[in-house]
Every structure is written in C-alpha cells, then in structure tokens.
C-alpha cells in the first residue's frame, strides 16, 4: 500500500520554483546561516542543564 497519491485534491503541498531556488541561493543562504545559528544558540542557552536546589 503506497500512500503516494495522484489525486490532485489530496496531493501534498509542493514548493514553488522561487522557494526551491532560494534554498540554494548563496547570498540568501548566507543570511539564513547567520539566522539559523542565532536560533540554535538561543536553543542551546535555553536548554542547558539546570543547577538543582540544594535540599
């Protein structure tokens, strides 16, 4: 049972050509590189372990 459907109504969304192009466009990706790194740094800072209160 392969779920891939040829029916247009239930077909998954597909990216537009500009979206696919932007995914590998160097100048835009350099900006995304900075943005993703900042996002991941925020995640690392938020997720670092916690010091537990002493009993």
């Amino acid at each position: 049972m392969i779920a891939r459907s040829q029916n247009l109504v239930v077909r998954p969304m597909k990216p537009t050509r500009p979206t696919v192009f932007m995914r590998v466009l160097w100048p835009w990706q350099l900006l995304r590189f900075v943005a993703i790194n900042l996002r991941m740094t925020a995640m690392i800072l938020k997720s670092h372990h916690t010091r537990l209160p002493r009993a």
């Binding site: 392969i2 969304m13 993703i36 916690t50």
Partner: protein, 482 residues
C-alpha cells in the same frame, strides 16, 4: 576516588572529558569501551552514500585519553556488582576486546559508575534483518562503508539501464531514530541525481511512524506563512518534491533476499521487492547483568525489560494519555546513588509518539529518540553532579537535565554538497511535549522551528568538524557547546 564510565560514545565521552577537567589528578577517570575508535555517528550517513570515508568520521581513542590522563580499557562491561562482594566494594566485570587479550576478564572497582553504553542493535528482532542477513545499515561506520559498496553496485546496474527499487526505513514496528533513515533516504536521492540515474530508480521509504514527520516525537507544529502547520505537511511535501514513495505505520515481519514482508496499521499484510534495502534495527539495552552482595540477580531491578537502565523517572504503568512531562528523569541517578545512566542507555518512562497496534494486535510504536545534543547534555550534567559529590560532599546530584525541559537542535542532511546540498535545520522545545504549558501544540511555537536550505548543510558540516575537534580534546575543546 575512581569514576568508571562504560561507553565512549557521545554521552560517555562527554562525561569522561568533563570529569577529567573538573577532578584533580588524585582522582581516577576510567573509560571502558569495546571499540578502539571513536565514531561521530551522525556522519555515518555520508559514509553510507560514499561521500565520506570511515577515516573521516573516526579516530583512535587511546592517544586522546593518554593525553587527557584518562585510563582507557578496550573492553565491554558485562556485570555490575553495585553492592560489591566479600572481596571488594562495588565493581564491574569487564571483558577485554583488545587484540591479543580478547576475552580476558577484569574486576574493576569504582566509587561512581556511569552507564553510557548506548544501544544494542537488535537486528534479531526481525527475521532476515541486518547486514549479516538481507538488508543494510548505517548504524556503525563499518555498516555504512559496506552499504556504500552495495550502493556503488546498484548505481552500476542503474547506469547499465536496469531499473532498481531502493528501500530505506525502519526494520521493525518499535524502531527509533527515524531521523537517521530520513537523512539516508534523501542523501541517497541526492547521490542518484548526481550520478544521473535517479529517473531509473524507484525510492521507497518504509516507516513505523503513523505519519511522515513524526520522528518518534509525535511530530511537531511549526509557524509558517501565518499558519501553525504540522511537520507532516512539510515532510510529505519534501517526499512529493523529490518523487519518493512512502509507506507509513508499518511493522516489518521479515526480510528475505530482495523482498520485505510488512503489515500496516490498517491490518493489511503486503510485500515489496527491492534491489537495495537500508533498514534500521530496533534498539535494546546492551547485555549487562547486575548482582547483589550475595550473588542474587538484580538485573530486573536495575534494568527495564528493554535492557535500558532505570533512573529517577516515574515508571508507573499508565495509559499514553495519562503521562506527564514530569515523569521524565532529571538527574539520571539510579536506585544506587553512585550509579548513573545517560544517553540511550537510560530507560525512558514512556513513548513520546502515540503507540498503536494493527487490528491483528501487532505493535507499531516508535520508541522515543535520544539524539546527540540531549545525550551530550546528560553527560555534562552527570559529570557536574559527580564532581560536586566528590569535591564538595554533595549528598545528591546537583544538576539536572530533563528531556521535558531540554530542547534539541537537529540538522537533518538532505543532500551533501557545499554548493547545492541542503539540510533541514530543526529546533524543538521541549523535546518531550509539555501539554500543561503548551496545551495546543505541546511545544513552544517560538523555539520550535524548521527550514530547508543550503545553510543547513553548511551548519551540518561545521558541526561535523566542531564535534570531532571537541571529541579529540584539542585546545579549547571545552568552549564548544554540546
């Protein structure tokens, strides 16, 4: 005092390096691990498609440990005696795997023990599964190198104009690590396009996830274009874009040469013929036994039936809808205050993705993943607690890192090239959904994000370089976060 660490993977190696940095030389840090090489497992994906060589994802552990003044035993732990015996205090029995004295056993006493033994690859759970039988794997660098050779052969056949079916996915209904199979699938697609043979290849993804994008964490919700969108929508979109077929909610019953037999959540049993199949195995805990002072078997008390070690979690049996984020462990201490279990080795209290059964009663239940970042953070957390217990006399662990309070950053490669490769950069917070704090989505919509692009590939490659640098304990290694 002596701290013994079983396992030199992501979590154990992190704990060993940090303990050595924190403890004065009068205290001993001993690492026991069966492999002489350290392996950056996430990059095995690239080895599996021939984009990297095994030497690029491994290095010799002993010189690093010698330089760091950590004692390394190339051996595997087989028994834990947490209460000691008439001869000595607590000890582990280890069996050498080093060339020359393989099989020799040694009794290693400890003051503190960290179990960081990761998973046992349970290929035996599905008849015919695994590299010694009828399918391939990328779980170790050896498996990945063998898979790459098989892929070369498949590409040769494609180049001769022979159509091929390449199957990637999960080899059992209870597998975890769907992210790794997802990465391998898209790297395979990318490699076949590069070779100009993609049009002759049929790519099929076979997974135990009820829907694509579940990843064993019940999927996630992301904000995009003014909507809150489930990860399934994005995942299906990527499959559609790359022309990859998928079968979800599947349990594999058996793998024969060139043919897989599976059952899906609607109860249908079906089979698929393949020319190449990379199917991941379910994970179990490694084969460790535990004995009390008088020699009676403690294994069932220290370990869950899955073989993973029980820690400070709430293991009360509950329905899936009744679990709480607070059930998840925080300190990773076991019922013995000087024994901890971290990374994949600790027993999760429950599934994160809803466990299901087919109408025939076959479980299709993705196990919770414990990826690299949380595993390494657990290593750091436990190292700090043990250092405080040794140096400051703390009576209980001083640091905690619950997966219900930790987030994870994960970069899933979807094609390896610095010019036109891509990867999905994902962050999620928290890893274990907290429906009290985030009633609608289970996770923060600010910190749960995802995007696909070349920048993700650059980050993935940077992480490969940075984590190998850190693992080799090169200058200022400790400044690189987990």
């Amino acid at each position: 005092m002596r701290v013994v660490i079983l396992g030199a993977g992501v979590s154990g190696h992190t704990a060993a390096l940090l303990l050595r940095r924190k403890l004065p030389a009068s205290h001993e840090v001993v690492v026991v691990s069966p492999n002489r090489l350290w392996n950056w497992i996430p990059s095995n994906i690239w080895v599996g498609v021939g984009a990297m060589r095994p030497e690029q994802v491994t290095f010799e552990l002993k010189p690093v440990y010698d330089r760091m003044r950590i004692r390394f035993l190339q051996a595997k732990g087989t028994e834990i005696h947490p209460e000691g015996d008439a001869e000595s205090g607590p000890f582990v029995l280890v069996e050498s795997t080093a060339e020359g004295n393989a099989g020799q056993t040694e009794r290693l006493t400890y003051d503190y023990l960290i179990n960081a033994t990761g998973p046992r690859l349970d290929f035996g759970a599905t008849p015919g599964l695994g590299p010694e039988n009828n399918s391939l794997s990328v779980c170790s660098y050896q498996h990945a190198a063998a898979t790459s050779r098989q892929l070369d052969a498949a590409i040769e056949r494609l180049k001769r104009g022979e159509r091929q079916t390449l199957l990637v996915g999960m080899g059992h209904g209870t597998c975890t690590c769907q992210g790794a199979a997802f990465e391998y699938l898209f790297n395979l697609d990318f490699a076949l396009r590069r070779q100009g043979v993609r049009h002759l290849a049929r790519l099929v993804f076979l997974t135990n996830e009820a829907g694509l994008g579940d990843f064993g964490v019940g999927g996630m919700f992301l904000k995009a274009g003014g909507y809150v969108i489930p990860s399934q929508t994005f995942a299906e979109s990527l499959f559609e874009e790359r022309g990859i077929e998928w079968i979800t909610g599947a349990h594999v019953h058996r793998v024969d040469p060139g043919r897989v037999e599976y059952e899906t959540l609607d109860g249908n049993r079906d089979e698929l013929a393949f020319d190449f199949a990379m199917l991941l195995p379910p994970f179990k805990g490694v084969l460790l036994k535990a004995f009390s002072h008088d020699g009676s078997d403690l294994t069932g008390e220290l370990f869950a039936p899955s073989g993973f070690m029980k820690v400070d979690a709430d293991y009360t049996a509950k329905n899936f809808d009744e679990w709480e984020a607070s059930d998840w462990p925080e300190t990773y201490q076991t019922r013995y205050p000087n024994i901890f279990a971290i990374g994949i080795a600790f027993a999760p209290p429950h599934a994160i993705s809803r466990p299901r059964k087919t109408p025939n009663g076959t479980p299709v239940a993705p196990a919770p993943p414990r990826t690299g970042m949380p595993s390494a953070i657990m290593g750091r957390t436990v190292a700090q607690s043990i250092a405080d217990m040794i140096l400051r006399g703390a009576e209980r662990p001083t640091h905690g890192a619950s997966m219900a309070k930790l987030g994870a950053a994960c970069v899933a490669s979807t094609g390896m090239s610095p010019i036109n490769g891509t990867a999905a950069s994902l962050t999620m917070f928290p890893i274990v959904p907290d429906h009290r704090t985030y009633p609608e989505t289970g996770r923060s919509l600010i910190y749960t994000t995802g995007e696909l692009g070349l920048a993700g590939h650059w980050i993935k490659h940077l992480l490969h370089v940075a984590f190998l640098y850190k693992a080799k304990a090169l200058p200022f290694w400790w400044m690189i976060p987990e």
